[in-house]
């Protein structure tokens, strides 16, 4: 044994190197998921989304806070003004302009749309009438989760959407009672235009793909963030309808013919 008082730097370094792997660090927490969430889905206070939804006063407060956060610069910019202040016109949907450059995502295909089923079975599981676009006819696949996704594969007149691996994705859910939330984050190249669909208020979101985050129920069940293509979204009689496709605005509107 050597007397430590005579220890050289080399020996002390060796002792420290030996200690390194044994140093009593607490277990490393998994930071990746939290960091990802924070850099992708910034604004709204998540745990309160559903309470907010049911309390108009709180909702207005959050809207006001968001407006402040988005800032005067955003309000002054015509490209971003569109998304501000309108995000509660369609129930169950929050449209939100991202303050920072929109993240990119690897395509999530095939999408996890829930349990595949028949139209009849899907209908029996919800209390609203599932509407099938006459323009598209019977869907190629029907799913049931908290919302009802109707999937259409690409056709000559319907281009493939790389974000979904589908041609058209129609989603229907009860925006008034079913606590499904679509968070839509728009980047610089995306425009959001307020529209009227068969007389009901809605949104046409187009241009660069936008970010979508779906949260279902109050149980924390959520669908991963992904990028979404052009989307027409509106609400009628408590049911929110969403059509995601690579179609133009005019073609997307054509699909709404016959829908509520």
């Amino acid at each position: 044994m050597a007397d430590l008082q005579r220890i050289t730097d080399v020996e002390l370094e060796r002792a420290l190197r030996d200690l390194g792997p044994r140093y009593p660090y607490p277990p490393t927490p998994n930071l990746a998921s939290q960091v990802r969430l924070r850099i992708t889905a910034q604004p709204v206070a998540q745990p309160r989304r559903f309470e907010l939804w049911r309390d108009p006063r709180r909702l207005a407060l959050v809207a006001a806070v968001l407006l402040v956060l988005l800032g005067a610069a955003a309000v002054a910019n015509p490209a971003t003004r569109d998304a501000i202040a309108h995000f509660f016109h369609v129930r169950g949907v929050i449209v939100n302009r991202q303050a920072s450059p929109l993240p990119s995502f690897s395509p999530v295909t095939p999408l996890d749309l829930g349990r595949r089923t028949t139209l009849a079975d899907a209908q029996s599981s919800v209390k609203f009438n599932i509407a099938v676009p006459a323009e598209l006819g019977a869907p190629d696949a029907v799913y049931v989760v908290s919302d009802i996704p109707l999937a259409y594969t690409p056709r000559p007149s319907i281009p493939l959407v790389t974000q979904t691996g589908l041609g058209v994705l129609v989603t229907e859910f009860r925006g008034d009672v079913n606590p499904v939330f679509l968070m839509k984050g728009l980047g610089e190249g995306t425009t959001a235009e307020e529209v009227s669909v068969n007389g009901d208020p809605g949104w046409w979101i187009s241009g660069q793909p936008h970010m979508i985050y779906v949260e279902v129920g109050g149980q924390g069940q959520s669908v991963p963030l992904r990028l979404a293509a052009n989307t027409l979204i509106w609400e009628h009689a408590g049911v929110t309808y969403r059509i995601e496709s690579g179609l133009s605005k005019a073609d997307a509107f054509r699909i709404t013919a016959g829908l509520p």
């Binding site: 044994m1 050597a2 007397d3 430590l4 008082q5 220890i7 730097d9 020996e11 002390l12 370094e13 060796r14 002792a15 420290l16 190197r17 030996d18 200690l19 390194g20 044994r22 140093y23 009593p24 660090y25 607490p26 490393t28 927490p29 998994n30 930071l31 990746a32 939290q34 960091v35 990802r36 924070r38 850099i39 992708t40 920072s100 450059p101 929109l102 993240p103 990119s104 995502f105 690897s106 963030l225």
Partner: protein, 196 residues
């Protein structure tokens, strides 16, 4: 390890262009380092976790200012330390005692006799406790070099000092550690020093 900087350069470049998956891969690779560097500063796990998480978020938004091709690791360390320094709390003192107990149980050198293992544990416990009494800068530079294996160039970047300064600071930190160790402490017998 040698291939890592090249991976980093590619991942950082993708992340700079907004690829969240690429950035998540960087976080996964460096989260242990970030947490441990933060822990060296804060002395408690909760603050270290907060600091590391905040550092990764801040680093993401600072990627636009990150020089393409520059090493990611020391840049991240600098951000982590800045965050951690903002979070040091009085909980640090309590942690020293907890660490002393923990390190005593951490030895797994089955090749050593029980006596030698106990001696090595005692030595390491004392080393950890003594490290904790050092100035934060000394502790950090020793950890960078000897725990986290940063090169001198990386340390210079992480500490924002010239390379020559790194050498002198390291030397002074070692000297202060030696002085701070109990006078009667002895080096453990070298029986268990083989590296597995």
């Amino acid at each position: 390890m040698e291939g890592r900087p090249l991976d980093d350069i590619a991942l950082v470049e993708r992340a700079r262009n907004g690829d969240v998956n690429a950035y998540e891969a960087l976080v996964q690779h460096y989260q242990e380092l970030a947490f441990r560097v933060a822990y060296q500063v804060t002395g408690n796990a909760a603050d270290a976790e907060d600091a590391a998480q905040e550092a990764f978020v801040n680093a993401y938004y600072a990627l636009g200012r990150f020089r393409p091709g520059a090493p990611f690791k020391p840049w991240l360390c600098r951000i982590v330390v800045n965050e951690a320094r903002n979070r040091r709390t009085s909980a640090q003192r309590r942690t020293v005692l907890a660490e002393r107990a923990l390190v005593a149980q951490s030895s797994g050198d089955s090749a050593q006799s029980p006596e030698a293992a106990a001696e090595a544990d005692a030595f390491r416990s004392t080393l950890v406790a003594t490290l904790r009494t050092l100035r934060q800068d000394d502790r950090l530079i020793l950890a960078y070099r000897l725990f986290f294996d940063l090169s001198e160039a990386e340390m210079a970047q992480a500490l924002s000092v010239p390379r020559g300064t790194v050498k002198s600071r390291l030397s002074r930190a070692l000297a202060r550690l030696r002085e701070a160790l109990p006078a009667d402490i002895r080096m453990p017998s070298p029986a268990g020093e083989h590296d597995g």
